[in-house]
Symmetry: C2
Subunit: 328 residues, 2 copies
C-alpha cells in the first residue's frame, strides 16, 4: 500500500480493521455502524474522553504509547464504575496523513491495550481537519443490572481510599519535559512509564462492590475529590497529606524542590481510583483489593459539608495554591 496515495479507507483497512478482526459486530469496519448484542441482565456503561497532541500527549511521545494512553484513560473510567470493558469506537482527526511508522506504532499500542484491558475495536471515523491530531475513543463496558458504581453517592463518614501511588503521572510529564532533577535512570524510566502507560485499575472491580462511590483520579486528587464531594450533595472531605501514597521515585522528584511537594495532591494523569467506603465495608474492600494484588490506602474521611480540607503534618489545614488542571 502506498501511504501517500491512500485515503480514509486505507487507514481504516490497513491499520484499524486488524484491531476489529476478533469482533463480529465490527463487520470488518466495512459497514456504516457497529452492532453490539448486550449480555442479558446487564447494563452498559459508556464513556468518551478525547486526547489531543500537544494538550494530552506530546508530539514526541512514541505512537504506541499514544495508542495505549487513548484507550487507557477511557477504560480507567469503566474500571472506576466496576464495569467490564467490551468494545470501543474510535474517532480520529489528523491535519495531514500520518506516516506509516506513526500509524503502525499507534495501532500496535492500541492492540497491546486491547489485549491488556479485554476490549475490541468495533467502529469509528477518520477525518482530516486542521489543528492537532486528536483521538476520541468511545468505550462501552458492562455491569450486572444496577451494579454501576457512581461518583455521586459518597456519604458522610465514608473512608477515602486511593489505589496505587499519586503524583507519578505529573512527575513523569515533568521528567519527560526535561526537568530530570538529578533522578536516577531507573526513577526516570518509572515515572515516564507512569505518564505514558497508565494502567486502568480493572483488578479492583470486585473491591468496588464494597464502595459507596468511586471515580478515577485524572485531574489531581484535590480537584477530583472536590468533584466527588459536590456530586454527592455538597459533602466535605478531610484527608492527611502524610497518608497520601507516593512512590519512591516521585518522592525523590518532589524532594528536589519545595515547589514540587504539592504534586501528589494536585498532579493529574495518574488514573488511580478514588473510592468512598463505609466503615463497615472497609475490611471487605481491603481484602478484595489485596486479593486483586492492588495496594489501596486510606487517607481520610468524607464529612457532611465544608469542601476539601487538606491536613498537613502539623495537624493544620493547608492552603493549596493550585488545585489541579481545569480544561478551560
Amino acid at each position: 500500500m502506498t501511504v501517500t496515495a491512500a485515503g480514509e479507507e486505507a487507514i481504516i483497512q490497513g491499520y484499524l480493521a486488524p484491531l476489529a478482526a476478533g469482533y463480529p459486530g465490527a463487520f470488518g469496519l466495512k459497514d456504516d455502524c457497529a452492532a453490539l448484542t448486550p449480555t442479558p441482565g446487564h447494563d452498559l456503561v459508556l464513556k468518551t474522553d478525547a486526547i489531543a497532541e500537544g494538550v494530552h500527549y506530546r508530539a514526541t511521545d512514541p505512537p504506541a504509547d499514544v495508542g495505549w494512553k487513548a484507550l487507557a484513560v477511557n477504560v480507567s473510567d469503566l474500571a472506576a464504575k466496576a464495569a467490564t470493558p467490551r468494545i470501543y469506537l474510535l474517532s480520529l482527526a489528523f491535519p495531514t496523513f500520518p506516516d506509516h511508522a506513526w500509524l503502525a506504532g499507534f495501532a500496535a499500542g492500541l492492540a497491546e491495550a486491547q489485549a491488556a484491558f479485554g476490549i475490541t475495536l468495533a467502529g469509528g471515523d477518520t477525518d482530516r481537519r486542521p489543528g492537532p491530531a486528536s483521538i476520541t475513543p468511545f468505550v462501552i463496558g458492562e455491569v450486572a443490572s444496577g451494579g454501576m458504581v457512581r461518583r455521586t453517592t459518597a456519604r458522610p463518614g465514608d473512608h477515602i481510599l486511593v489505589s496505587g501511588t499519586l503524583g507519578d503521572g505529573a512527575a513523569g510529564l515533568a521528567v519527560l519535559s526535561g526537568e530530570d532533577a538529578g533522578l536516577s535512570a531507573g526513577e526516570i524510566a518509572y515515572l515516564s512509564r507512569r505518564y505514558r502507560r497508565p494502567e486502568p485499575r480493572l483488578a479492583l472491580r470486585k473491591a468496588l462492590a464494597h464502595a459507596s462511590a468511586a471515580m478515577d483520579v485524572s485531574d489531581g486528587l484535590v480537584k477530583d475529590l472536590g468533584r466527588m464531594c459536590r456530586a454527592s450533595g455538597s459533602l466535605g472531605a478531610r484527608f492527611e497529606v502524610a497518608r497520601v501514597p507516593v512512590s519512591a521515585a516521585c518522592r525523590a522528584w518532589t524532594a528536589s524542590s519545595p515547589d514540587r511537594a504539592v504534586l501528589p495532591l494536585v498532579g493529574g494523569d495518574d488514573y488511580e481510583l478514588l473510592a468512598a467506603v463505609p466503615p463497615e465495608r472497609l475490611d471487605d474492600f481491603g481484602r478484595a483489593a489485596t486479593a486483586a494484588g492492588v495496594a489501596v490506602t486510606e487517607i481520610g474521611r468524607f464529612t457532611a459539608s465544608g469542601g476539601v480540607d487538606v491536613v498537613g503534618a502539623d495537624g493544620r489545614s493547608l492552603a493549596l495554591t493550585k488545585s489541579g488542571y481545569d480544561h478551560f
Copy 2:
C-alpha cells in the same frame, strides 16, 4: 453565570445538562460515565461521525443549525440500519470558550434534533484545544436482535432505490457560499435548509425490512454506491442519470451552468438513504415507504461486477470527472 469565568463544568451544567434531564442514566451529567439498560431482545447499533468548523460546517452557520446537523448526520446512519435512536454522548473541543449566544443556540439546535429524532444526551466530554471547534457525537440505537440492515449485503439483481432528492445539500452549500446563480428567494431558502438541516430518514425503518442492504448518502451517490458495491463483495451497479430524483430548486441550480449538471450524482451532504431491494420485495418496500410518507425512487440495478456504471440520456455510459468527496 459569568461565561468568561466558567470552565468545562459551566458548559456541561449550564448548557448540556438540560439536554440530559429526561434520561436517568445520564445522572445529570455529574458522573464519570453514563448507563444504558438495553431493551431485552435487541441489539445496539453504534455510530460516530465528527463535524468540524470550516470542514463540515461554516463558521457563519447559525449555531442551532450546527447542533442539529451534528446529531442528524449520525442519526442518519442509524436510520439506514433500521435502528431506533436511544441516547448519545457528545465530545466537544473548542479553541477558546464559546460565547453564551453560540452555546445557547447550539444547545437549542440539539434540543430540537433530540425531539425530532427521539434521542437524548447521556454523557460526554468538553475540552479546550487549538484548531477548529469540533463536535463528535456517539449515537446508540436499537434494533430487534439480528435486525440491523447492513451495507455489505447487496446482491446482484437488487434494485437501487434512493429516498427524497439528491444534490440539494451540495447546492445548498454552494448557494450559502455566495453562488446564488439567480435563484429565487424560495429556492435559496429550500436549498440552504437542506444543507443546514438534514433530516434522517427514520420513517423508512419499516420499509428497510424489505431491503438487502442500505446506507445513507453523505459523500455523493456515485461514491457511496461504489462503497456499497465494494463492501458487498465487488458488485457492480448500473443506474440512469435521468432517473435520479432531483428537486426543482436543485434543477434550477444545476441548469445555471454545465459544470453543475453532475451535482446530484457527486454532491455530498444529502443524508438520503440508498437501499438495495430484491425484485420480489420491491412492491413491499414501495408500499411501506408510501405509508411512511417518504418518496423513494428506483434508479437502476446491482450487477455481478464492474463498478458503478452511470448511464446518460443517450443510453451510453458517462465518465465522471469527480466522484464525490474523500476525507484524505
